[in-house]
Amino acid sequence: MTVVSKSGATTTGSIAVEPVVTGLPGHTIVLGDTVPLALVSGQRLGPFTVAYQTYGSLNANRSNAILVCHALSGDQFAIDPHPITGKPGWWETVIGSGLPIDIDRYFVICINVLGGCMGTAGPKDINPQTGKRFGLDFPIITITDMVAAQKLVIDHLGIDKLFCVTGGSMGAMQVLEWASRYPQRVFCAIPIAGAARHSAQNIAFHEVGRQAIMADPNWHGGNYYDHAEQPHRGLAVARMAAHITYLSDSALHQKFGRELQDRTDVSYGFDADFQIESYLRHQGSTFVERFDANSYLYMTRAMDYFDLAAEHEAILANAFEDSQVRFCLISFTSDWLFPTTESRQIVHALNAVAASVSFVEIETDAGHDAFLLDEPEFFGILSGFLAGAAELRGLDGDASGRTGRETS
């Protein structure tokens, strides 16, 4: 890489981003200050801030790092209480001491994606050129851009090869992008409940969410930051609609059925009579506390634009040619947002290039969100696959001896 001085001409024409969210727990890094990040849209970004969290410790030869990619509504606080809501981390069932992603053994990195709203550059940040918030002037971000920014963080941490990249949903898209674009930097990849491209149905649901936000009069064309009222109603509706897609008919039926909320009879009105209505309203109202409406627009768009095959002459297998990455794909039977067929398509593409691939469909009625829930079989697959990969990678610890793995 050519070293370019800070005052060099390369930064001209690049979009600088001044963060507004500061003082969060965890780490931040300023990237793109010497060489701006070339975005897929053609624009260039830098300098900009990226916020990330780490758990566990990096070993001496820096070979035990696992990058965990968060989903649309997630952030870098995977296992610690959320700094805004105080709620438990979104993957505290998976990452931790003695858990499938064992922080006594692995160094876990979780990075807030580009376009996000928890410390990494996004539309709520300030454009130093105007002194105002970006809003919709923020450049369009793709999954490729998110991963390119993550790679800069991994470079900064001095990690030559990640032991594993994993994540669910939008996180799975990032995993696939990592394995495809930087195969030399990834030992194994676990895309969970993902797809190599966003389906028409999924784009449709996202568009409903975006239109709900844009239809909120408080959205003000994206320039709501200086107003007293924020587009919370629109964002809440977007979240409610999306939340339905993360569950399944049977999960909803089992959890709520037609049970009424704090009443014995229906009200013959439009109150939240049913428990499911009350639940969704709650989901919507808590989401707006911690999420920026414009970020929601940008991140859903990034998912919509994701199409890995399209970047490779429309042949998905070409995305993984000669790949030495060990893959483990996991899908869930009741997930209708990212159904098993999507994962199977990736498996077929990987088979076509004779890549090393494991593929498991977990039986559950929890829907797409199963990867966030307590699914023992899923956990068994995760720890088993990681242990096998760790053995091959020569990671120290109990997996080096076969007998040592009998107890967990």
């Binding site: 088979n351 076509a352 090393s356 494991s358 498991v360 720890s383 696959f385 242990a387 076969r402 009998e406």
Partner: protein, 229 residues
């Protein structure tokens, strides 16, 4: 939650041990219908193969992947087509042939994606099986064919002679045959001769697309079975 069994449990599956013995260390292997991954686990750890598996049953896949094996949930008759030609040195079809609908198509796919195919199956020509049908008038059931006729996943039954004939028709070369008797011992081919099809309870065939120098040198001792008549 980690591995329940740490050592490969193939000792009690004699056919698996024999299959393992046919495989060159360090080769690329696909185990089609790999079950709980016992053979693959053994091959990966003791023969240092680059091992992959396909398994239909969810339970088998989950157990295999939990062992750290590269196994995908899939159907041999649907998913083999996605593999490139010559992707493997050995492809194993162990005790699975009898449940395959399109036997010819599957065998063709096996020997497209791999140089060698190792196929093992229970012998319908085994004398006890014949005895059941001839004397007792009952559809045969045995240790190797444990299912009652109306509740069996096994839809294709063949004798050793049947299989040799089919392999010949399809132009495949049989490099090796291991016939296994009721006690699990490999039968010395030259001492039993044409009686093999009566005495073998199961058999393992090493097939390849064309004559290899190995098979030429092994010559008559490993020659295909003659027809009984």
């Amino acid at each position: 939650m980690n591995r329940i069994q740490s050592s490969p449990q193939i000792q009690n599956r004699i056919d698996l041990q024999r299959v393992a013995d046919m495989i060159e260390p360090g080769s690329r292997v696909l185990d089609v219908g790999c079950g709980d991954g016992a053979l693959l686990d053994y091959l990966v750890h003791f023969k240092q193969v680059d091992g992959r598996g396909i398994e239909l049953s969810q339970e088998g896949v989950n157990r295999s992947v939990s062992l750290g094996l590269a196994v995908v949930q899939g159907d041999a008759e649907i998913d083999l087509q996605h593999y490139p030609s010559d992707a493997f040195d050995y492809v194993i079809l162990s005790q699975t042939l009898q449940s395959i609908y399109d036997v010819r198509g599957t065998l063709r796919e096996l020997l497209r994606i791999s140089r060698h195919a190792i196929v093992s199956f229970p012998n319908l020509g085994y004398w006890r099986v014949r005895f059941d049908l001839l004397v007792r008038g009952r559809s045969p059931m045995s240790e190797k064919l444990p299912y009652i006729w109306c509740d069996s996943p096994n839809i294709r039954f063949c004798t050793l002679t049947d299989f040799v004939t089919l392999a010949g028709e399809m132009g495949f070369v049989i490099d090796r045959i291991i016939s296994i008797d009721h006690s699990g011992r490999a039968m010395p081919r030259d001492t039993v001769g044409r009686w093999t099809n009566w005495l073998a309870e199961e058999a393992i065939y090493l097939l390849s697309r064309e004559v290899s120098p190995d098979s030429a040198s092994q010559g008559s001792a490993e020659a295909p079975l003659p027809a009984e008549q």
